[in-house]
Symmetry: C2
Subunit: 167 residues, 2 copies
Amino acid sequence: MNYDEAKNKFISTWGSLGSLWGINKTMAQIHALLLISPEPLSMEDIMEQLQISRGNTSMNLRQLMDWGIVFKENIMGERKEYFTSEKDIQELTKQIAKERSRRELKPTIKILKDVSNMQQDGTSKTTELIKQTKALHEMASNLDTMMNKIATHDHNWFTKTLLKLIK
Amino acid sequence: MNYDEAKNKFISTWGSLGSLWGINKTMAQIHALLLISPEPLSMEDIMEQLQISRGNTSMNLRQLMDWGIVFKENIMGERKEYFTSEKDIQELTKQIAKERSRRELKPTIKILKDVSNMQQDGTSKTTELIKQTKALHEMASNLDTMMNKIATHDHNWFTKTLLKLIK
DNA sequence: TTAAACTTTCAAAAAATACTGAAAGTTTAA
DNA sequence: TTAAACTTTCAGTATTTTTTGAAAGTTTAA
């Protein structure tokens, strides 16, 4: 496999993975491209390499920056803006864990809590609803705590802990 | 909050969560409905409660069965088919971990391995591509091992382990 | 058998989502 | 200032995904 084949394979795989996880394909591809690029890239570079429009590039870069995994970088003497991604995979994992907790888990946990605290009326359907949302609440809270450990501990905590678990 | 409010809140929350995770909204809503229903439901019941068509119901139920989290149940003396979901949240978690490993992680790991084993040609771009895909491969493999522990260990292993971790 | 009761399939329609490109906006250098 | 170099926004368009509903398929009871 030569460089271009390998690169395209990686970018397209990352792209479809992304869309499987609620992140759009282009956003994931831009991220993949930056992740393997030794140099920061300009908007033009990204547009050209992925064959996408200026508007699309701009909006997806913004979202990646909102996720905290892509950054603007100024190159001295250059007017243009350049972009890099978080290159450290452990750091990337931490950031993703943090954001998914904030965006998805926390709000879900709140609703599960509200629902499971509804008025018990003794009917079997209410009993079941309370029971199941309580159980989901507990599971989601445990997961959330784990995600936040990943996000706040030092660099290697997650890998070290995983390995300990696994043995 | 009365029963209907609570139920609707739960179903719609579960629905939007689903679509955030690559599972379509209706599929997630059917799952939610079955999860909190004390009795198995027929296709008619589901169609009526979620206001969706017969075809849609049929296809999404099939997918849920493919995931191994919804089952057909025969009620004696009844011609119709009835459906229930896995009610045990720990068991549900195991099943989801297993399927996501099989459908997403495993194929991704294979590609990361292939790409990271490409011919090194000494250029900085090739070096970076190999380095990053290797790092992702390692992270993905660790996650996959964890998911499979969840999937194969006994019932409570995951929760117990999480709690140990967390403290 | 056959016909009623039910489920699945799939082409077409609808809905949701993503993308384009040009106009508007911003920044910088002179 | 101003104008060149760049980025953002957003209405309209294209693409993808989901849904519908009717026809085809299957099962069961008589």
